[in-house]
């Protein structure tokens, strides 16, 4: 009887003390991008997947928020959704060239502060187009653009055609002051995403692109 009472108290404590987050109030994100707007604000474009029934096919939907810093982007998205972005399924995060040139350290720290982000998340820099355009580009083979983007980066990383640096390693490179490169992506005339060389970084700031000229 005493044990039962203790368990009941524990369950009551569980009800009042948790973060109160169920899977239902989280929006699963497959890919996202940060662009810079003309007024200096950052704009987050996130691709989520919605499936209304078990039989129905999944459809992408896009969510956009803006803010003055990376943390404000996620706060803005939470306010918009009255929930949270669920980053556990996210495979790709695209960064605008302008944002990359300002430095990506605050963005990396904000991503790492999200408790469901995968440390294997791949980062890429949009070349000659905005990150928003890359995230919204239609997939040719895969049904879901975010899946296709992730598969593209995985395939090229395995073949050695693009730098293979997941989120955890990017954070390590920035903190240790080492130079590093991230894959660059661009769009073809018919709107497909293709690799476009690499973006080179020093002390967390992009210094320029190398390789991949004339691919688009």
């Amino acid at each position: 009887m005493k044990r039962m009472l203790i368990l009941i108290v524990a369950v009551l404590l569980a009800c009042v003390g948790g973060k109160g987050r169920g899977a239902g109030d989280r929006l699963p994100i497959l890919s996202a991008g940060v662009s810079a707007s003309s007024d200096g604000q950052l704009v987050l474009t996130a691709e989520a997947v919605r499936q209304d029934s078990l039989e129905g096919s999944a459809a992408s939907l896009y969510l956009t928020t803006s803010g003055s810093d990376p943390a404000a982007l996620f706060t803005g998205a939470e306010q918009l959704l009255a929930g949270q972005l669920y980053l556990s399924h996210a495979r790709t995060f695209v960064i605008d060239e302008a944002v990359a040139r300002q430095g990506i350290a605050p963005l990396i720290q904000t991503l790492l502060a999200q408790d469901d982000v995968r440390l294997t998340l791949r980062l890429a820099v949009a070349r000659d187009v905005t990150a928003d355009e890359i995230v919204r580009a239609q997939a040719v083979v895969e049904e879901i653009p975010g899946e296709a983007l992730g598969a593209l980066l995985d395939a090229h990383a395995v073949q050695g055609g693009l730098p293979d640096l997941p989120l955890c390693r990017v954070s390590d490179r920035i903190l240790s002051g080492a130079d590093f490169s991230l894959p660059a992506l661009t769009l073809t005339e018919d709107g497909r995403v293709i690799p476009a060389g690499q973006a080179d970084f020093r002390l967390g700031r992009m210094t320029g692109f190398s390789g991949g000229e004339g691919l688009a």
Partner: protein, 282 residues
């Protein structure tokens, strides 16, 4: 009569309880974690040598030689000490579960559930706990070894990984020594059931696996990167994907959850045994 515990069970218990702290140590201090484990091994060897020299089967039989008033003092002290270990480990474990897998549960609730569960495991005594520990040690050890092997392609070494400082040794020692002392209370010299081999194998395997697990965190996340990630040892287990297993750190975390259960249950066993001692000496 002292509790009859088979050597394999005792070794398994040492293995589990000496691995439980690994989730909470900084990822860059693998030499410190390994050394702390070897220190526990040395302490166990000293205790076993003393037990053979003075022919005592465990700490509780040794206590028969002390006067009643000292027995009461030691019993009360042990209850407080074991309660502190149990509550501290349960709180750390509940915080870990809250931050990673179970954000819906408050850490307070998690701590209470863990303490109740471990009290139930411990209520059947140290021999039953050691019997439970044998399959659990194989399960936890197997998961940890498999996780290390599968993540090998992602290991990258650099010079900063091997950095060792005496100051860095303090934290793993602080985490490992109290529980080593608690485990040694049920250990001694037994002519019929020699214990030293099993205890040394269990403690040695725990020290090596703990060191390797922390080394993996630094090698996978990078020494600088690992410092900024809470539960880096746990997160580093999630860098590989095998088939449908996409969040492998969850299974890896389950192995350490078993280790933490064993540690709390051991502390509960000490509380029960010390309480019996207090009642006997009235």
């Amino acid at each position: 009569m002292p509790d009859k515990i088979f050597p394999r069970g005792r070794g398994a218990l040492f293995f589990l309880v000496l691995l439980a702290h690994v989730l909470f140590v900084p990822a860059i201090s693998w030499p410190s974690v390994l050394l702390a484990g070897l220190f526990a091994l040395g302490l166990s060897m000293l205790w076993l040598t003393a037990a053979k020299r003075w022919q005592f089967q465990d700490f509780w039989t040794l206590l028969r030689r002390v006067p009643g008033w000292a027995k009461k003092g030691i019993g009360a002290g042990l209850i407080l000490f074991a309660a502190w270990v149990a509550v501290h480990t349960a709180w750390d474990s509940a915080r870990f579960l809250y931050d990673t897998a179970l954000p819906e549960w408050s850490p307070w609730a998690g701590m209470i559930v863990l303490l109740v569960l471990c009290w139930l495991i411990a209520s059947r005594g140290a021999p039953a706990l050691c019997l439970w520990a044998v399959p659990m040690a194989w399960l936890a050890g197997g998961i940890i070894v498999l996780s290390l092997v599968l993540s090998l392609p992602d290991w990258q070494f650099d010079a900063s990984l091997g950095v060792f400082s005496l100051g860095g040794l303090f934290r793993p020692l602080r985490m490992i020594l109290p529980v080593t002392v608690l485990a040694l209370l049920f250990t001694g010299y037994d002519e019929q059931l020699p214990q030293s081999g099993a205890v040394l194998v269990g403690t040695g395997c725990a020290a090596v696996l703990a060191g390797l697990t922390v080394l993996r965190a630094g090698a996978v996340l990078g020494a600088a990167g690992a410092r900024t990630i809470s539960y880096a040892v746990y997160e580093a287990a999630g860098v590989f994907e095998t088939g449908i297993l996409q969040r492998s750190e969850v299974i890896f975390g389950a192995a350490f959850a078993i280790c933490m259960l064993a540690r709390i249950a051991l502390a509960c066993c000490v509380i029960r045994r010390a309480w019996q001692l207090l009642r006997e000496s009235k």
